[in-house]
């Protein structure tokens, strides 16, 4: 076959092509270097000028120069970074360069495919409802490029054209939903070295003065919690994240290492049942680390979690997507968190090992002389650990301490100045000071960081925990009891624990003061409040059912409907449903419109031919029915008339002018009868003939 010359892209498709480029590129421009944006926009302008006829396509040397220059530029700006951003930037660069080269229809495909991939890449940066709508629209515009390339030259109004295209896309949606629900979610095939270089807000594994205060200026969401039973009272909502057990200078650090997280074992996972009164599910925003926040005494109820050897709940991998996890808790037993010993989950024994005692009483050897003296005075009274703790808590309550997000800066000794001079601080100060004093007294204790409280979304009945709910409190080891929670902040600002940060700093006016646009600031305006809760509920359901629809959710969801599901049965269900849908679609689209009569005629004739094969008169390939019957008539002249009649009926049925259905059916019956009688007769004749020979 002759090679067809390459066809130029029709002018009408070029417009769609350029629109698709713009729509897909816009959100990506936010994530790439500014020189890349400028280059991309210039190339777009160039391409538009070519369309207009103002400029010509670049020559080979210009193209080479462009490629070399931009590759060098790319290397210089991204060489230190091997992340999602650099990969996306690479795609942005290549598709922009390709833009001035797209000339022929055959070039369009690769161009369109890269654009489609870029549409999907945007989901690595943002997964909101709006992003999804935008990206799916962008992909439709991109697909429309292909559609416009292949549409006919008929003069069909563009409205009908658009409808035709929409039909192609929207008919697919039910299938998409079903595949989405049933497609088995596979664990990552290889570890992903690429991570977005995005900065995550949230608690870090160290606490120095001022850090939590920074966090309290953020109205970003940390996680959301739905309880299957009643929501526990606000002052019980301590979401434990991690312990800070080491004090270095003025900074509290966690000595928990990733290795220790790995040491933990998979706890026995309780099957999650939404009817359980004591279960709750958390949808956490990406943190890029493995900490999960949970109420004390929680057990795991979903498989994406594990228990670290210190009894904290950890994800199996870093949270880079909004992720859902489930837990159950026992509110009555407030003591003795879980831990893993010899592979079994047990309550922590009421004795600390020497290593642990050392860890939880560690302190810098010097500093804060006034505090040291103060504590040693108390020690002389011979109080137990519990009494001592209560003493110290009382001290916070009785002395003129203030809860403030704007504490004065300390100059030398943090604890001395805070406890005896300024007496102004927020949770980090109080918790830190309490543990410092307890450790001076030799009582094992630790700072716990996490979140406290949460805002109730009445419309949907779930809790929203924001970054400004970040909190630090204290756990003290009491012999025979175990770890016991104490919150010194509550001694100073009861509102912080009972009603949340907003109420606690009401007078100070520091709530989200750096953040004038946070809608949470305007919560007193009823409409703003209503809107905020509505939008949050929408985004919660979106995240819960679409974004957070992972293997675990799928398992829970499907097992509620189908009982236990295995990977294999999932695949089976997928295949069946997919098959059924495609078949239904075929039927709906008129696949079977004109089956029947025509085919039956051919079938009947073929049967006739087959039955005569033994007579040695096989129908030759390509022989028409008329030719065949004529040939038969030569060999079996006795049946010439009948054979002619048969071929006449056949041709009439097959190629004759249209008859109505009844007529056709009658004729077909007629033909069947004739064909069968004729075949029998001929065979009989043939046998006799053979014998006589």
């Amino acid at each position: 076959m002759k090679r067809q010359p390459d066809k130029l892209i029709p002018q009408s498709s070029l417009f769609t092509l350029l629109s698709a480029f713009i729509v897909v590129m816009l959100p990506h421009y936010a994530n790439v270097s500014s020189w890349l944006v400028i280059l991309s926009v210039l190339l777009l302008l160039w391409r538009s000028s070519i369309v207009k006829g103002w400029l010509d396509y670049p020559g080979r040397s210009v193209k080479t120069l462009l490629v070399v220059a931009s590759v060098v530029g790319f290397y210089l700006s991204y060489r230190h970074q091997f992340s999602v951003e650099s990969a996306v930037a690479f795609f942005v660069l290549s598709v922009s360069l390709k833009l001035i080269e797209v000339r022929f229809i055959k070039d369009c495909y690769l161009f369109v495919f890269i654009l489609l991939y870029l549409c999907a890449c945007q989901f690595l940066f943002s997964q909101t409802f709006l992003t999804a709508i935008y990206q799916i629209t962008a992909s439709f515009v991109t697909l429309a490029v292909l559609f416009s390339l292949h549409k006919g030259r008929l003069d069909i109004p563009s409205k009908i054209r658009a409808l035709e295209f929409a039909k192609l896309v929207f008919i697919a949606i039910p299938l998409v939903i079903i595949i989405f629900m049933f497609f088995p979610r596979i664990a990552p095939l290889w570890s992903i070295p690429l991570s977005t270089g995005k900065a995550y807000t949230g608690i870090s594994d160290s606490m120095s003065p001022g850090q939590i205060a920074e966090l309290t200026q953020s109205s970003e969401r940390a996680f959301r919690v739905s309880f299957s039973g009643d929501i526990p009272p606000q002052n019980q909502l301590y979401w434990r994240g991690l312990e800070l057990d080491t004090l270095e200078g003025e900074t509290w650090r966690s000595s928990e290492t990733p290795a220790q997280i790995l040491l933990g074992r998979l706890d026995e996972v309780r099957t999650f049942n939404t009817d359980d009164k004591d279960s709750y599910s958390v949808l956490i925003e990406p943190t890029n680390n493995r900490w999960a926040y949970a109420l004390a005494n929680s057990s795991l109820a979903s498989t994406n979690l594990m228990l670290s050897d210190r009894g904290y709940i950890r994800f199996k991998s870093n949270v880079i997507q909004p992720t859902r996890y489930k837990l159950t808790y026992e509110i009555e037993k407030l003591t003795g968190p879980l831990s893993v010993v010899n592979g079994k989950t047990v309550r922590v024994p009421s004795v600390l090992s020497p290593v642990e005692v050392r860890r939880y009483t560690q302190l810098p050897s010097s500093g804060n002389p006034i505090t040291r003296q103060f504590v040693s005075k108390w020690l002389e009274k011979g109080l137990t650990a519990e009494e001592l703790t209560l003493q110290m808590m009382r001290y916070f309550r009785e002395q003129p301490f203030y809860y403030t997000l704007r504490p004065p800066r300390t100059r030398e000794s943090l604890f001395d100045e805070f406890l005896f001079d300024t007496r102004r601080g927020f949770c980090a100060h109080y918790a830190g000071a309490l543990v410092y004093m307890l450790r001076l007294a030799g009582v094992p204790s630790r700072v716990i960081v996490g979140y406290q409280g949460g805002e109730l979304n009445q419309q949907e009945g779930y809790l929203m925990v924001h970054q400004y709910d970040a909190h630090a409190w204290v756990e003290v080891w009491l012999d025979g009891v175990g770890w016991q929670r104490y919150d010194p902040t509550a001694m100073v600002a009861l509102d912080r624990v009972e009603k949340g940060l907003r109420e606690a700093v009401k007078e100070e006016g520091s709530f989200l003061s750096d953040n004038a646009f946070a809608s949470a600031r305007y919560n007193n305006i009823a409409f703003v409040r209503w809107m905020r809760l509505r939008l949050d509920a929408l985004s919660y359901n979106w995240q819960k059912w679409v974004v957070g629809y992972d293997g675990q959710t799928q398992y829970d969801f499907l097992s509620r409907w189908l009982g236990a599901v295995s990977f294999k049965s999932l695949a089976l269900i997928m295949a069946t449903i997919g098959g059924v849908i495609v078949v239904i679609a075929f039927l709906l689209l008129g696949y079977s419109k004109k089956r029947g009569a025509v085919d039956e005629v051919v079938l009947e004739f073929e049967r006739f031919c087959k039955s005569l094969e033994k007579t040695g008169m096989k129908r030759v390939i390509g022989e028409t029915p008329s030719q065949y019957t004529q040939r038969l008539a030569v060999k079996f002249p006795l049946h010439q008339k009948a054979l002619e009649g048969l071929s006449r009926i056949f041709n009439d049925l097959q190629y004759g002018e249209s008859r109505d259905q009844d007529d056709k059916a009658r004729l077909l019956d007629n033909m069947k009868q004739q064909a069968r009688v004729l075949a029998r007769e001929i065979k009989r004749w043939n046998k006799r003939h053979d014998k006589s020979e």
Partner: protein, 320 residues
Amino acid sequence: METINKIKERLRVFFFNWVKRRNPPSDKKTLTQKNVYIFPTKEGGLFAGLLLLLLLTAINYQSSLIYLFTFLLGAVFVFSIIFCFKNLSGLSVSLVATNECFVGEEAIYSFAIKSGPNQYCESLVFAVPQEPKKRIDLAASEVVSLDLSKSAKKRGATTLGRVRIETVYPVGLIRAWTWLEFEKAALVFPEPIKGERLVVDGRLGDESDEGVAVKGEEELTGLRDYALGDSPNRIAWKHYASKGELYVKEFDGVSSSTSWLRYFDYGSGNKEQRLSYLCHDVLNYSDKGLRFGLELPGVVIEPSQGEPHKLECLRALALA
């Protein structure tokens, strides 16, 4: 290498015989699921690669939305199969007429193509091997006529051969096509080539182009009614001028006496060459309005003249 090519060719023949068995030649074809084939195009294959890449991205980043996006594109791919098939199915293609031509000219096959009710058939490409492709679009229930041509290389009844009707509508990822063969043949006459006649009859023996035009020695024997195709040289123009009726002069004498063009009159040449020579002479004699007969092995056409006679002779030559 050669054996591979041989095997390939064998497979091709085997395959197309199978196609032909499923869909024997006839002059009217309606496209149904029986004779329409569907397969992704090269670009469709690339698109499948894109889907795989997207799926891998979704799996490795555990991103539900990328899963969703992958499935959406995948479903569009699947449904474009149906749309592509629908674009061809229900189309009926009838070969309504063929022409007659000489070897080296184009044989033309005229088709009437009708789309099914309620359905556009767009961007249909008709391809005859070694011929340029033709593209048509049909609105619902529309009949469009289409001429496919095939350069005539061999004398005789020539069928069009395998026509491939294909479409990649709507998005170019899937191709639906069919191979159709039609019964009606175009008649291809031999290529006229001037040959050397050894055997001469009458004064035309040493025939040359001028040799025939020895009009002066002919005797007018009478007039007969004009028949279509008679040479204008022989019209009785004088009579026409006076009476307004068209008559053709009939001559007597040697030149008007019957000439015979015979297969074995030529000194050299194989069958095809001889037929070409005869073809040339038939055209030549006919142009000059001479009366002649044609004798081929097994075929004898009695002497006559005029356009119908010429065609009869040419057809005999084509089919000899």
